[in-house]
Symmetry: C2
């Protein structure tokens, strides 16, 4: 529209120069000023809220953070405004990832990194977030458009790429390492990675990146029959990684890789995906802001409204070498953890707490102590709690299935990449 108005103004200008009668100039100038006014109207951005410097606790209708800062007065969160320091990476901006991104944006998260390579389709309209007028846009572009309108305070970085390709994985890794948002941060440049992808290969790529970076992440998934889902916390070296045991799902599942085949279409519901996104981001907030207990694994069976939980220890025979390295580091740090836990326990006596938490565990994540014999061994299906089942055979067995390529130990990233690419091109 801007171009059309510019052309119109040029025409009016040339007409002005050809007018003989001075009285007509006045009429024409009035017309010109009307068109200039139109130009302003056309340019006018839709109403947007301005950025805010600090999160105010003031209880007024115009304060977008009043109901969040109220968490402090309610005694739930000690310092809500810390949320602005945190960076979250969301891999997969589909039915779960997009809603998770919107929730974090509305909560005022500091920085969001979004990864997806897909485009918005009308077939996505049965899930929350994307709108019909965004059909054809990349999901990352559409998400940035919507999220920046909702909350201009959030720093949004979007990566339109496939993390299971060599190039995509490299960009993924370097984006996670980038610490320019908070240079003083320990470890990687993000505080948590949320996996919201819909296939095994992408989860294995997230797993590989997080094991290499010693990066804690939350995995999420929804079954292809749309009526169950889960979230799972993965702390490299401390809990099972995604390759330590076959993935746990709530319902018995069809092989995920069939879903993308022509004519086969997974079911999905905005309800199941909204619940999983809500549970995922609620646990993210608990993890970041240090309240409540972060769930190690939480399932959702929507047919029965049943929510199975469990904990998973790492597998000392895990095929992922980076996982084994993290396990060694974690074992080496055990004496220090025990001493710190003992000191903490003594300092807190008399206490009604049931047992020592890990001292370096500032987020109150309870994971079974590695010395406990009753920790669940998820590698045998007999040990699974009610309502949970393995989705696939073990990672090793799985990798033998789809490819004819010789299977090697995953002893370095290159091998993994080759296997992923063979699976993708199969």
């Amino acid at each position: 529209m801007e171009v059309e108005i510019k052309e119109l103004l040029a025409d009016l200008q040339s007409l002005d120069q050809s007018l003989p009668d001075p009285s007509l100039h006045a009429s024409l100038h009035k017309i010109q000023s009307r068109v200039e006014h139109l130009a302003k109207l056309a340019k006018a951005e839709p109403v947007r809220r301005s950025k805010v410097q600090d999160m105010s606790t003031e209880v007024v209708d115009s304060n977008p953070y009043s109901r969040l800062m109220a968490l402090q007065r309610m005694g739930i969160v000690e310092n809500y405004e810390r949320i602005r320091d945190f960076s979250i990476a969301i891999v997969g901006v589909g039915g779960v990832g997009s809603v998770a991104a919107e929730m974090l944006t509305r909560c005022g998260i500091g920085r969001l990194l979004l990864y997806d390579y897909d485009k918005v389709e009308l077939a996505n309209m049965n899930r929350l977030f994307f709108r019909p007028d965004q059909v054809g846009m990349t999901k990352t572009d559409a998400a940035v458009e919507t999220l920046s309108d909702i909350n201009p305070d959030v720093v949004l970085e979007s990566y339109t790429l496939n993390i299971t390709t060599v190039e995509g994985f490299e960009t993924f890794m370097s984006s996670l390492k980038n610490k320019s948002f908070r240079p003083s941060k320990q470890g990687s440049g993000v505080d948590l990675v949320l996996s919201c992808v819909d296939n095994y290969e992408a989860r294995m790529a997230v797993n590989q990146a997080c094991n290499e970076l010693s990066q804690t992440w939350l995995e999420s998934g929804v079954s292809e029959d749309a009526v169950s889902g889960h979230i799972q916390l993965l702390i490299p070296g401390e809990t099972a990684c995604f390759a330590c045991a076959p993935p746990l799902v709530v319902a018995s599942g069809v092989d995920e890789r069939t879903l993308k085949r022509e004519g086969v279409c997974a079911a999905s519901l905005p309800t199941t995906m909204g619940v999983i996104a809500g549970l995922l981001v609620q646990n993210t907030l608990k993890f970041l802001l240090g309240f409540g207990q972060v769930s190690p694994y939480l399932g959702y069976n929507s047919l029965k409204d049943f929510f199975p939980t469990m904990q998973m220890k790492p597998n000392p025979q895990c095929s992922n070498v980076a996982c084994l390295t993290r396990q060694e580091e974690y074992a080496l740090a055990k004496p220090a953890r025990d001493a710190a836990a003992k000191a903490k326990l003594e300092a807190e006596l008399p206490s009604t707490e049931e047992g020592p938490l890990h001292d370096d565990n500032e987020w109150n994540i309870s994971v079974v102590d590695d010395s406990e014999p009753e920790g669940l061994d998820t590698r045998s299906s007999d040990a699974l709690p009610e309502g949970l089942t393995h989705e696939l055979p073990t990672a090793d067995a799985f990798q033998k299935l789809p490819t004819e390529a010789p299977v090697t130990d995953n002893d370095d990233l290159e091998d993994l990449r080759k296997q992923l690419e063979a699976i993708n091109s199969a």
Copy 2:
């Protein structure tokens, strides 16, 4: 912008009539046609998807229902397209109600009735759905704007009113009774009422309406510390009504009526409200489409990811007269139910089912049989399951608290209305 362009065209017209030189007319006509083109551009609607005649199972990117119709092939739902026959009333279009409305709209529900009297504020931006550019609009108008863009197939009716006023309650009742959408429907004109309000008085008004109409409803709530919530199924005569027992909540709660006082502000989180909306609409879908089990009561304690459940029988001493009438009707129908259940059981033998369901219970809702002695009596707090507590004293005791007005038995609607108004004006 339309007005401005019209004025501009009028000015051009009058200039045209004053031009002396015919050669100038050509220039002016070019300008006029440019402005007419502008007018068309300004009028152009944003891209919207068109209505669809039937829900297709076709697996193409352009089919907005493909992932929902896939529920049939997955064996979850027998006939998904039935959803277009159903009408749902959502009372309260706030943090839970707006998301519930969006989920149902994306699922392709036949008709949505929305009730709210509030306006969108920036302080609502920490919950999903409303956008900053909608600040100042009524929530009903803003919701209709967004929902009709998302899915033009849904029939939307919005009621900008307060159901706790006499006038508002009357309009509420008559809108529920209206059967023009599906004249053949038994009972009221809606299939389910979802209560998504944030105060006791509004819940009591929904309760009164549903008891009078013998209308099944689902109640929802989120605690004022933002970290817990619940949903509850209420079938007049068969389960406890909202006045049968003090409201059950997950966390220990502050008196809800303090929330709206000046300077006092409840906390809220998009996560908790998204989870509750998801559980609410998931149970709505199970109820409407006849799959899975509808939960009689489901709590959500987000600090522990704990989900308490329970069942509540009606109180034979309930203060709500309409509830007592429904209880009598339900008791009178018991022999017929028992006979039907026995016939069904015999027809199904040999069967592995654990016990007879009510035969008239086409939605598979399991409610404890009224002859069972082990049914939970929720009127004594000793009987409550772990994690649940009463939010308020009994309805009668509650109503004695806030008003100085003489308390009478709720023996008719007029009395209830007077009491509600006294509370509202207090």
